[in-house]
Symmetry: C2
Subunit: 375 residues, 2 copies
């Protein structure tokens, strides 16, 4: 399961837009990565025209970028509507989804209406599911504005809302027409959001690309300082690996699940504390530490791997200890993970650097991991 083409060696020396294709037959599309994409007329070429475009954003991101996006879209659409959602994972629910449906119907949006998701993972997931479901499907474009969304959630067509009983439980596989990663917008991210995004960047190393893990370690200071070239490479390599995985397994029948390294523990933390307490990336950061511990505990990896993962997660300014929910509660929350089968939790574990596997683990081992890394 090692990703081919270690293109990290071609570290970009300029920031001309990069295109990473996602090969999914008649649902194929491009990820475009570059600084200033929002202001580049070429960005909008080839997208379907319609009488209505709708920018779905949130109350935090919209004041920063919605007007620029609306101005860029105006030449191509009869009308550009804006819908601002409340901000945060706590609002990734049916009520927020229905805000979109209600507004689209009130404005007479038809099946050709193009939705533009302008925001982080929550905006992208909710807007994507709205696009999948409105009139049984309208086209949509991802315009991710957080590092986390650029390297992970906006790519690959997973859309969802949360259910009180579990994260991302209601949703669809529904591909966007295009993903536009404008690196310029990362400048307004909070430090906390930047670190949360780095969790998903780090993830790609152990699951698919040992060399990329080394590159991240070497460049973590530059990434935290938002060096544009370091960010450009991190986004590009992350998207390449994600594109490679998704192109082989769009609907997560196998390989794709490796992208959930750290997520089984992380989702339990998010759900256990109530959505929005921890950022998704914080849960993933801490969850990777736990999943690394479990990989070591089950004899798949040497103890030095856990130390290495703790160190990189810490250096990315992410939590390495989970909240004291109690092991029973963790296990209960993890049993309703989507990767579970017949009530058996299936963990994404590392079996060698750059190679992940999915397998169950004895409850005692999981409890030992939780004892070591929570509270």
């Amino acid at each position: 399961m090692t990703a081919p083409d270690p293109s990290f060696v071609s570290f970009p020396t300029r920031l001309a837009p990069i295109t990473v294709p996602i090969a999914l037959g008649d649902r194929s599309y491009d990820i475009r990565i570059g600084a200033g994409l929002l202001d580049d007329p070429a960005t909008w070429q080839g997208l379907p025209r319609a009488s209505l475009a709708t920018i779905v954003s949130n109350v935090t991101v919209a004041p920063l970028y919605a007007e620029r996006l609306a101005a860029a879209l105006a030449p191509h659409y009869g009308r550009v509507l804006r819908i601002d959602l409340p901000d945060g994972e706590a609002h990734k629910d049916w009520q927020t989804l229905d805000l979109i449906f209600d507004r689209l119907l009130a404005e007479g949006a038809d099946r050709k209406t193009v939705l533009f998701a302008l925001g982080g993972g929550v905006v992208g997931d909710v807007t994507g599911f709205a696009a999948a479901s409105y009139m049984r499907g309208v086209p949509f474009v991802q315009v991710p504005t957080t590092l986390l969304a650029q390297v992970d959630s906006s790519v690959g067509g997973k859309t969802a809302i949360n259910h009180p009983r579990g994260k991302n439980m209601i949703g669809a596989f529904y591909q966007p027409l295009r993903v536009l990663c404008d690196l310029g917008v990362l400048g307004t991210l909070s430090d906390r959001e930047l670190s949360a995004g780095l969790a998903e960047v780090i993830k790609y190393g152990p699951i698919a690309d040992e060399a990329f893990l080394g590159w991240i370690e070497d460049n973590l200071a530059a990434l935290l300082a938002r060096d544009p070239r370091a960010l450009a490479h991190a986004v590009r390599r992350s998207c390449e690996i994600k594109a490679w995985v998704v192109g082989q397994d769009e609907r997560e029948s196998g390989l794709r699940a490796i992208l959930n390294f750290g997520h089984t523990f992380g989702h339990a933390i998010e759900a256990g504390l109530g959505y929005g307490e921890w950022l998704h990336g914080e849960g993933v950061g801490c969850g990777m530490v736990m999943a690394s511990d479990l990989s070591v505990r089950l004899g798949l990896m040497p103890p030095a791997f856990l130390d290495r993962m703790v160190r990189i997660v810490e250096r990315a300014r992410l939590p390495v200890r989970g909240p004291a929910l109690g092991a029973d509660r963790y296990l209960e929350l993890m049993r309703i993970d989507k990767k579970s089968e017949g009530g058996e939790i299936r963990f994404v574990l590392i079996e060698s650097l750059g190679r992940a596997v999915m397998r169950p683990a004895p409850d005692e081992a999981v409890r030992a991991t939780l004892a070591a890394h929570t509270g």
Copy 2:
């Protein structure tokens, strides 16, 4: 747009199960039609096994057939769960959908769980959308128990819930694994439900098969008397035509819209009166009269066609006059139809017997039609 193979001439002389294939590449499946399918072990062969099967039905149908279905499934699944929804179009909404999600999550249903939709169009549409969205998609089987569901709504993968602002506005194209039309269950239908189903049977004549229209006229008394052979043929020929249309245009980018003959007016009646006042098939019956009137008014068809459609709809014991909502309200409701584009209503009209077209119509013509057939 005339359906090939006028197999109505091969009127079945016995009720051995009939299979009508739906060709949709890797989403292909069979419709099986026959008396006593629920009790035939062959019915379940080839379906995926899992630790959990879930029968979703409603409080009216479940007491009649859920136990039989549960007994038939028991050998193949570790556990068979039952979820009974409230009955009726008024409950085809998010609250009902969430009943399913909540119960599935509470019971630990995983991605392999197979849903069985046991009921009419509402149960099938809601269960299908639940299957499309639960954990981003689980397998499901349609077990339609009304004539309307057997000849139309269970076939072709359209799933949806209603929104207060419009019918079937939120949903997905999501194909079942199989459709099981047990003709035996039609015996418990109310006369009103039987007539509502006949509306969708009649529909297939003018849009795709002139000879079938003649057959329906000749056999309407037998159909109303629930003659098993007449019902078997009506279901079979309807499914053949639907399979032919859906096989060419799964996602309703063109041809498939002809299946909505009568539905633009019909949906407006349903929404205007409040869901559940009129049955869907009653709206379609009356809507076909209106769409026929409009076809005549626009010079596509001779006046005798309207007379013929009024006569057959009346004989099927369906309404031929719409409620007095006022023309403005009708137009407003029809403008949010999913076939509308840029606020322009697109009607399914008949241009010759067995051939439908989709086109806009001048407001004056629509108002004249409404004046002639409402109030």
